[in-house]
């Protein structure tokens, strides 16, 4: 038995066989071969296998999506058999003795670049087809499975270097018991995904993770941040018992999840959900959410080729708001740009995307993007409890410009005779340190704040949270972040405004007592975290927590803060 240590990213115990999520890593070395004829034969074998694969894919696409989609794979087959391409490959292998991988890659790249150079959108797109075809053959030559999930047919513990959002689309979540990655921090995509799914995860466990053979029995401890390889029978039994106990605790929490979160001394706080689509809305209701503290609207914009129009957005927002009846739903306007790019917007690459033209900055710069969303929100809010908030506001001027757009849209809609929300509460995400420091000024011009601790930690600690080498420094438990959170809550309350928190911190059992003690009004989290968070709140006494929160602000490290809470608030140990 061997233990790998990483960052505890999502709670719980997972036990299962290892399965490597291998993103097509098609690195190969360029070399000369001793037997060019054999190399050419090896290439032809791979080519034949690729043609057979394409015939299967073609048949599948035709059955599932019709002739038009299938035609793409027919074109791919023609490219595979292209005599000019094959001549070039053959010349490299047979005449120059270059290995098949390099020969194919060179020839395909030459054609791809030639097509790209023709300054024609259609032909440029064909360049991607040539590369795709070459990749298919390369995978076969290198013995890399066709898809990163090929062979995932039994519930497994997913191992990877790190996972991106597009990778996770490929995963059949019903076959995942947990995640362990070599890289990434507590706010990496893998961590966020795992918490969203309620699956245990350890991230940043180091490169040894990648050496574990597929099928090895693993125990993952998401509370302690440990991965155990080939555990003995006693260890497995012990973890199974812990798994059962946790499941019982969760079952108990779930039984009471529709009851309000009221502390022992009668203080009620709202526990709301972070959601990103209509399915999320249903999951949130089932989990006992008292509202939506963060409705991410990016789902309407990602993985498509053009902007969603106002009507489509209206229908989507309305469907979600209707799911919640009278309960509040806070819609966050589009938060893209920087690292979350939309191909059809044609945004220039930036050196520092997290400091670039993103979120409200982009929306104010591109009103054709912003206006339909604001109009759709105003319409969806008619007769409902819908609020809006703007992401990444750094200055009062941005807030005023965004509010002006809201008023402009409202006037337009009224002139058109459309039903609109008579009154719509407006808030901002507090996630830029400048906004936190200016919270007293900003509070005068909003109805509420929602603190985004993931980005606030990133910006406060100058840590890009997608950079694995530094991501672990961006802890929401850092006293620097907690001091800002404290000041924001105090500034808002001084002006009679309420404050929510929709970062990962809101659902952290060890953070809940501190946030309660600071006077946070609304806790918004991923639906799976709600039952336990409510259970913890019900076990606490607010009176006692104000002193704990004050003490936390005087700590010197995130670890010291966590130890303090463990020591002074035993109720959190249950979580």
């Amino acid at each position: 038995m061997k233990t790998l240590r990483g960052i505890a990213a999502s709670r719980g115990i997972a036990i299962g066989p290892a399965f490597h999520f291998r993103r097509a890593d098609l690195c190969f070395e360029r070399r000369t071969v001793d037997d060019p004829a054999a190399e050419w034969a090896r290439f032809q074998c791979a080519l034949k296998a690729a043609c057979e694969q394409l015939a299967d894919v073609y048949a599948k696409a035709q059955a599932e999506s019709g002739d038009e989609q299938a035609a793409i794979f027919q074109a791919h087959a023609l490219m595979l058999e292209d005599p000019e391409l094959l001549d070039a490959v053959q010349a490299s292998i047979v005449d120059q003795g270059i290995n098949a991988e390099a020969a194919l890659s060179d020839a395909a790249e030459m054609y791809a670049q030639m097509l790209e150079s023709l300054d024609d959108d259609y032909l440029s797109a064909r360049a991607a087809d040539v590369r795709d075809v070459a990749t298919r053959v390369l995978r076969i030559l290198l013995g890399v499975a066709e898809s990163p999930t090929t062979g995932l047919d039994t519930p497994s513990l997913i191992l990877a270097r790190d996972l991106t959002p597009s990778d996770t689309v490929l995963l059949d979540k019903s076959l995942v018991v947990g995640f362990c990655t070599a890289e990434g921090g507590a706010t990496s995509h893998t961590a966020i995904l795992a918490r969203g799914l309620g699956l245990p995860a350890v991230v940043g466990a180091g490169p040894d993770v990648l050496q574990i053979p597929d099928g090895t029995l693993l125990v993952l401890d998401g509370d302690e941040g440990a991965l155990l390889t080939q555990p003995d029978g006693d260890t497995v039994a012990r973890y199974r018992a812990q798994q059962t106990a946790t499941a019982a605790l969760l079952t108990e929490a779930r039984r009471h999840t529709h009851e309000p979160a009221v502390t022992r001394d009668g203080h009620h706080v709202e526990v709301a959900a972070n959601i990103g689509n209509v399915e999320g809305a249903r999951a949130a209701l089932e989990a006992g959410a008292e509202g939506v503290g963060l409705l991410r609207t990016e789902f309407l914009y990602l993985e498509r080729t053009h902007l969603p129009d106002e009507e489509e957005q209206y229908q989507a927002y309305r469907a979600i708001v209707d799911t919640f009846g009278d309960r509040p739903v806070i819609l966050r306007t589009l938060d893209v740009g920087g690292d979350k790019s939309l191909p059809y917007l044609d945004l220039p690459d930036e050196m520092n995307p997290f400091l670039g033209l993103r979120a409200i900055r982009l929306c104010l710069a591109r009103t054709e993007l912003f206006k339909p969303q604001v109009r759709a929100a105003l319409r969806a809010g008619a007769g409902r409890n819908l609020k809006v908030m703007f992401p990444m506001v750094a200055t009062v001027a941005e807030l005023r410009a965004a509010r002006a757009m809201l008023e402009e849209c409202r006037a337009e809609l009224l002139a058109e005779g459309q039903p609109v929300a008579e009154r719509m509460d407006v808030g901002i995400m507090v996630e830029v340190p400048a906004a936190a420091l200016m919270a007293d000024q900003l509070a005068a011009e909003v109805d509420f704040f929602s603190i985004g601790t993931n980005d606030l930690a990133q910006y406060t600690l100058a840590v890009e949270r997608t950079n694995a080498r530094v991501a672990s420094l961006a802890s929401g438990f850092h006293p620097a972040v907690l001091r800002l959170v404290h000041d924001v809550i105090a500034a808002a309350h001084a002006r009679g405004k309420w404050v929510g928190l929709c970062g990962e911190l809101a659902g952290e059992p060890l953070a809940i007592p501190i946030l309660l003690g600071m006077g946070l009004d609304e806790f918004s989290m991923n639906p799976p975290a709600i039952p336990l968070a409510k259970q913890i709140i019900r076990a606490l006494t607010l009176d006692h927590l104000q002193a704990v929160a004050q003490a936390a602000l005087e700590m010197d490290t995130p670890e010291a803060v966590q130890s303090l809470v463990r020591e002074r608030v035993p109720a959190t140990a249950a979580g």
Partner: protein, 92 residues
């Protein structure tokens, strides 16, 4: 060497489905077949070559063939292009 000159009427030119049909037809014959468009010449059996010719709607192409079945090959390709690749020509 026999040669024919044709105008491509299809709305997408010699791209996408028309290009695929063109290449598939050429491949049925053993002879060498070349397509010329402006200054560029392509192997008619190479989809990559044919695409790279950049033949758009209304362009004139010349096709020549050499070897066994050259005449039949030209006749088949002519029929294909003239039939607008088997589609109606309402979109011309």
């Amino acid at each position: 060497m026999p040669e024919i000159t044709l105008t491509v009427h299809h709305k997408v030119g010699l791209h996408a489905r028309p290009a695929a049909l063109f290449v598939q037809t050429a491949k049925k014959f053993d002879c060498d077949i070349k397509v010329t468009h402006g200054k560029r010449q392509a192997n008619a059996k190479s989809i990559l070559n044919v695409l790279a010719l950049g033949v758009n709607q209304g362009a004139v192409i010349a096709i020549c063939a050499e070897g066994e079945g050259a005449d039949q090959a030209l006749a088949a390709l002519e029929a294909l292009v003239e039939s607008n690749f088997g589609e109606d020509r309402e979109n011309e």
